[in-house]
Symmetry: C2
Subunit: 386 residues, 2 copies
Amino acid sequence: MGARSGRRAGAPRRAGMDGAVPPPAPAAPDGPAGPAAAADHDGPVTLQDVARAAGVHYSTVSRALDPAQARRVGGTTRLHVEAVAREMGYRRHLGASGLKRGRTHTVGVIVADLGNPFIAPVLRGIANRLEESGLMPLTTETQDDPARLARVLNHVVERRVDAVIVSAARLGNAPILLDIARRRIPLLLADRNVPQTGLPSCTHDNDAGGTLAARHLLDLGHRHLAQLRGPQDVSSFVDRGAAFSRTVTAAGAVELDLGDAARTPSLREGQRLARLLLARGRDRPTAVFAQNDLIALGALEVFADSGLRCPADISVVGYDDLPQVDRVTPPLTTVRLHGEELGRLVGEMTVAAIASPDRPPPSLTLPPRLMVRASTAPPRVPQEPT
Amino acid sequence: MGARSGRRAGAPRRAGMDGAVPPPAPAAPDGPAGPAAAADHDGPVTLQDVARAAGVHYSTVSRALDPAQARRVGGTTRLHVEAVAREMGYRRHLGASGLKRGRTHTVGVIVADLGNPFIAPVLRGIANRLEESGLMPLTTETQDDPARLARVLNHVVERRVDAVIVSAARLGNAPILLDIARRRIPLLLADRNVPQTGLPSCTHDNDAGGTLAARHLLDLGHRHLAQLRGPQDVSSFVDRGAAFSRTVTAAGAVELDLGDAARTPSLREGQRLARLLLARGRDRPTAVFAQNDLIALGALEVFADSGLRCPADISVVGYDDLPQVDRVTPPLTTVRLHGEELGRLVGEMTVAAIASPDRPPPSLTLPPRLMVRASTAPPRVPQEPT
DNA sequence: AGATCGACGTCAAACGTTTGCCAAGCACCG
DNA sequence: CGGTGCTTGGCAAACGTTTGACGTCGATCT
């Protein structure tokens, strides 16, 4: 080497912002993070640059800066190198590092809908847990579009993420998920399961949740019930629906089959289903279980518009306990999930899966909890008090 | 290489799921994305592997697969190579590619709080626009913690993102932001501005928004007003607050100075400010401008709890028009922003900034719009009808 | 004193791509 | 038939790291 052009010659150069920058104030020329200057080429500072400046070989710099290898280099040298590196604002190039080490310290996180309030705590839990292990989530949403899921998976594969967490899985996505698993990329399912794949998952106990909802309504005395179902290609909805039905039937009460389900777990679809329900006329149940809060909110709205009072005329149970549902009218009885905890756990599982890819972590379920509020009450005229 | 252990010997192995797998069905052995097999080593398929299988040099494969270079290779060869690559499930290693090309096709996106409903559409807008240009957002939240912001910025720098979009900027973050800019990483501010830095930004017109809110209340006849301020180190709140005050004063009405501001733009802080306001007793204004909807919701709750009726006793204007605020009681009058549009625009700016890093794109502002609902009404006893 | 050892550094070969350059082959033209 | 130009494909040098395999140098042991 040695024969590179000039060294620390030339003007300091204030790397960055040469082109028209409107306001003058450069404000704090030396930020807290150091000058970040002094490479003899443009582009970021490299190991070479630091090595030259510190007067050692670049492999020494690499070792000095890697805690795991730091004992391979003398104490004073290490301190010196560290000082120089900090001074120059060196940041290691994780892409290059990953090329060599085969680890990108990045985990793909794929969710269905960032706008669903339920997802934020989950992401927070994941991010916090991953950060503890030096990993960073690469989050994307699919909007429940299979084509988009495929594209996103492609992106994360190209980026060679260390693992993928999918919380956007629909039952039909099994093949494409298995394709990822076949690439030996650890794949974890969060919140939504796809049992046929046998992939490790961390979900809420939808079975328990559905049972909870049913039992509550039965205990109140309801004998005519119905469900406003979420998309039936999502395990969570199927499971909680099945548990609800099972419990209702076992109690000898009757469940009206609406014959349709929401295409997306959204307010709008909740409205549609509610209208469908009202169309049943005299057949109408005294209580409904909306398979998630958004559907419940949509339904409440339709009920109110058609003069039906909740809970006097009809009781409504939701699912998820979204942030504001205790503030709508009437405050919604719902099943509470602990999103952040779930995120944290799946983060934990991910770390484990990366550490030993051949031994996938066991699946987990979290218990839900019923939040009783004002949207449920005994039926006005208790049918068949038995 | 060559002398690695076994090849395609051994059982199929169902990659990554040896441990207890409950359901049997392997489901669709060949997914739509191809077999993804047949490298003579473990780990992902490389150019070398494809080249060997196709009987050409790996540089030829590289070219055949790059649309921009594809004309450098003969038609039949290209088709053959493409077929083999698809067959083998080859995915290019973006890390390695980025090392050579200096482009990661990744953009860091930093937001304050993923749980804030306002942010989801913004992220959607950004993601959609970026995807059109083959970029992928790397999204993280800082929870408005400066230390966390620093960590996150460090992460994205280490990953050599092509640009960074910061929507979590507080005014005090100027130095650390400039540190990024000094590294010649294009940096765009979304929603929140930091004027001192002169960085390009895309924000809502908070000046217009604050004016809109003030004018509405003044037009209703209110003469005694107050603001429930958001964090005063965030440009958006400062700006809309200033505009509000200016308009109120110009109209000769009086604004009560609460002497405090929310530490975070959250429901809880809204409650605190509302209690502070009530403590003023007989001094109480007839209308308040909450600088965002969460604060407004918190305040509404406190008002209701203390027997104050809205809008009869006190009018409330919010800001953001969050998804559910038309469904609380009373439906909230608020200023609507178009988050997705903002996201899209900042995505656009980002693409431009990456294309020509020396010519930062001009800043933009989007006009807000007042949504009048039931939380505002004329004061019960119009003071000084003039 | 010679062998051995530990500590500290350097060398150089990867990792998977991209790409400037060269060479071979071919067609075409004068 | 020689020259020119075009097409196609191979070669090899990067990009910034990591890391196994040496060296070198003192110090310690026998």
